[in-house]
Amino acid sequence: MCTPMPLLDVRNLKKYFPLKRGLFGGPASLVKAVDDVSLSIEKGETLGLVGESGCGKTTVGRTIARLYDPSGGTIRYDGTDITHMTQRELVPLRRKIQMIFQDPFSSLDPRMTTGDIVGEAIDIHGLAKGRERAERIRAVLASVGLSDWHANRYPHEFSGGQRQRIGIARALVVEPSFIVCDEPISALDVSIQAQIVNMLEDFQEKFGLTYLFIAHDLSMVKHISTRIGVMYLGSLVELAGSDELYGNPLHPYTQSLLSAIPIPDPIEAAASRRIMLEGEVPSPIDTPPWCKFVSRCPQARSICGENPPEFREVASGHFAACHFI
C-alpha cells in the first residue's frame, strides 16, 4: 500500500445536490450526497464500497467516473487531475474508466441489438471498423459467455444474468483499466450472482483490471474486495483491508452493520449476536456539522454532538472516523 502513486486518488470529494427554494425564497437546502470523501485505489485491487441506501455510495462511483460534476475536492486518475475536465477532454479518459450498472434492464437501449450496444463503444472511441469491428464484438461476447448469434438479439430476449453479461461486454470492449461496478449483482438471482462475480474476478486477473465495487450485499463485497470502505450519510466512516474490517471493525456503525448480515448457517446464525441500531438513517438534507451517526450510535457521548470526528489512520491501513477509537 506504499507504492508511490495509486491509480485513483480522491481527496475531499464533495457532491451536493441543491433542493428547490421555498415559496418565499428562503435559503436553498442542500442534499450532501457525498461529503468529504477521501480514498485511493491501487492498480489491480478491488475497493468495495458499502452502506445503506442513500448513503452516497453510488454518487461516489458516478462522480469518480465523472458522470456527475463534483462540488468540491479533487479526483486524480493515474496522476492526472480529472476533476474539472470538460466533456471533450474526458473522451479519451472514458476509454480507461468504464462503468457497469445495477439494473441490467434499464441500462441497455431496448432498440439496439447486442452487437450494436457493444459496437457503439468501439465506434465512439474509433477502435476498429468493418471486419475487425465484428471480430472484436464476437471476441468480447465470447469472453462473457455469449454466442455469435446473440449479437443480433435485442435486450428483451435475454435473462437478467445475460443482460448483465452484455453490460460487462460493453465495458470491456474498449479495454479499460478501471471499472466502477455499481451493484452489478444485486438484481440477479443467487445462482447467477456467483457466475458474474467469478467472471469479474477472472477478468481482473487476466487484464489487471482495477475495480470500485459498490454493493449493499456485505457477504459478496467481502468476497470480492481487497479493501472495503463503509459509508454513512455521505461520509466514509471506516476503511480497511477486507479481512481486517470484518475481523476487527472499529466504528460502531460498521460493527452493527456487520452484525446484521444474515449468515447462511443455522448454528452460526443462532450463536451470533446482533447489535441493533435504533431507528433509521436520518435525512441527508442539511446534515449536522458534527458526527452524523450520533442519533443512532449506541456509544454516543456529549463530544459526538459537538465536533465532527476526524477520518484518520488508527492502525496501519485502517482508517476510521470516531472520537472513541
Binding site: 444474515p262 449468515i263 447462511p264
Partner: protein, 342 residues
C-alpha cells in the same frame, strides 16, 4: 412436514395439518401457451412452525402461496391438487368465505411495502377498516386495537403514526405496518413473501428479529418466502427448496444446510459466500439458467444445469425420495437402489 407421495387412502388417517398443499398445479394461460408455474407441489405446515420456501425468481414460490390465498392474476388458475386449511378444502370455498378467511386466519405480507399500502388513506384508516371488518368491532375499539397492534410491531409513538400516510413512513416502518395489518386478527398462518428484500441490511435485521419475536410471543405459524439463504438459516425450522415450479428438496433447516441431498440445493449453498470464513474460496456457481416454463424439460428440470446428469434424468422426472426423517429430495441420486457414494 411429510413430503413423501402419499396414496389417497392414507391421507385420511394422517393427523390434520394446519395447512396441507397436495399435488398442487397452478398454470398461467398466456398467448404463448400454458406456463406451468407450480407443477405438482406438496407442502404441509404444522402449528407454530416456521417454514422457509427458498427459490430463485420464477421458481413458483410466490405463486404457490398466491394459490393458497386465491389471489392469482386473471389468467392464472389452479389446474389440480388440493389445498386444505385445518382440513377444510379451500378450493371449494365461495369468494365470500374466502374473503373471511384471508386476513382473519391467513395473513400475508408482501415484498414491496411501498405499493401494498393504499397511498390515499392514513395508516389508521387502513388498519381500523380491516379490524372492524374482520372482528366486527366498533370504531373506537377497532382504533384501540390498531394502536395496540402498531406497538406490538414496535413502531414508536403509534398513536401519531395512525394519522400518517404511507408516504410519510420509511420502508422499514411500512413493512412493520404491513405486518401489523396481517397480524391484527391473530391469524393462524402468516405468509411473508420476501418481506425484507426491499430493505437495507440493518432494517432487514430488525424485521427478522420482529418476526422471531412475534413467533415466540403469539405462536403464529409463519411461511417465509425468500431467496436469501441467510434469512432462512436465522429464522426457519423447516425449509422447502423450489426450482422450476417444483419442490426439489425439503427437510429441517439442519438437513438442508448441513446434509443437502439435491444438487441444486448444494449448488445454492456453494454460490453464497459465508462472511465468517477468513479463507477466500472461489465461489462455485450453478452454470446455465433456469428452464423456460413454457417448454419445461421432459425429465428433471435441473438436469441441463446439473453436474451429475444420468440418462434417466433426461427421460423421467424424479419423484421425491425420502432420505431421512422428514427429509426428502427429488433426485435420482437418492434412489434406494443406487449404490451409496458421496
Amino acid at each position: 412436514m411429510n413430503m413423501r407421495k402419499v396414496p389417497e387412502h392414507e391421507e385420511d388417517a394422517r393427523k390434520i395439518q394446519l395447512l396441507e398443499i397436495s399435488h398442487l398445479k397452478t398454470s398461467f394461460f398466456t398467448h404463448l401457451g400454458e406456463v406451468k408455474a407450480v407443477d405438482d407441489v406438496s407442502i404441509s405446515l404444522g402449528e407454530s412452525e416456521t417454514l422457509g420456501i427458498v427459490g430463485e425468481s420464477g421458481s413458483g414460490k410466490s405463486v404457490t402461496m398466491l394459490s393458497v390465498m386465491r389471489l392469482l392474476a386473471d389468467n392464472g388458475r389452479i389446474v389440480s391438487g388440493g389445498i386444505h386449511f385445518r382440513g377444510k378444502d379451500l378450493a371449494k370455498l365461495s369468494e365470500g368465505e374466502m374473503e373471511h378467511l384471508r386476513g382473519k386466519q391467513i395473513g400475508m405480507i408482501f415484498q414491496d411495502p411501498m405499493t401494498s399500502l393504499n397511498p390515499v388513506f392514513t395508516i389508521g384508516n387502513q388498519l381500523t377498516e380491516m379490524i372492524a371488518r374482520h372482528l366486527g368491532l366498533g370504531k373506537k375499539d377497532a382504533r384501540d386495537r390498531a394502536v395496540e397492534m402498531l406497538s406490538t410491531v414496535m413502531i414508536p409513538s403509534p398513536a401519531q403514526r395512525m394519522r400518517q400516510f404511507p408516504y410519510e413512513l420509511s420502508g422499514g416502518m411500512r413493512q412493520r405496518v404491513m405486518t401489523a395489518m396481517a397480524l391484527c386478527c391473530h391469524p393462524d398462518i402468516l405468509i411473508a413473501d420476501e418481506p425484507t428484500t426491499a430493505l437495507d441490511v440493518t432494517i432487514q435485521a430488525q424485521i427478522i428479529d420482529l418476526l422471531k419475536d412475534l413467533k415466540s410471543r403469539i405462536g403464529t405459524s409463519v411461511i417465509l418466502i425468500t431467496h436469501d439463504l441467510g434469512v432462512v438459516a436465522g429464522l426457519c425450522d423447516k425449509v422447502c427448496v423450489m426450482y422450476a415450479g417444483q419442490v426439489v428438496e425439503s427437510g429441517s433447516s439442519a438437513d438442508i444446510f448441513y446434509t443437502p441431498r439435491h444438487p441444486y440445493t448444494k449448488g445454492l449453498l456453494k454460490s453464497v459466500p459465508n462472511p465468517k470464513k477468513i479463507m477466500k474460496e472461489r465461489l462455485v456457481p450453478i452454470r446455465g439458467t433456469p428452464p423456460d416454463l413454457l417448454k419445461p424439460p421432459l425429465g428433471c428440470a435441473f438436469a441441463p444445469r446439473c453436474d451429475h446428469t444420468m440418462k434417466i434424468c433426461i427421460l423421467r422426472r424424479p419423484p421425491l425420495f425420502e432420505v431421512g426423517e422428514g427429509h426428502g429430495a427429488s433426485c435420482f441420486l437418492n434412489h434406494p437402489d443406487l449404490p451409496a457414494s458421496a
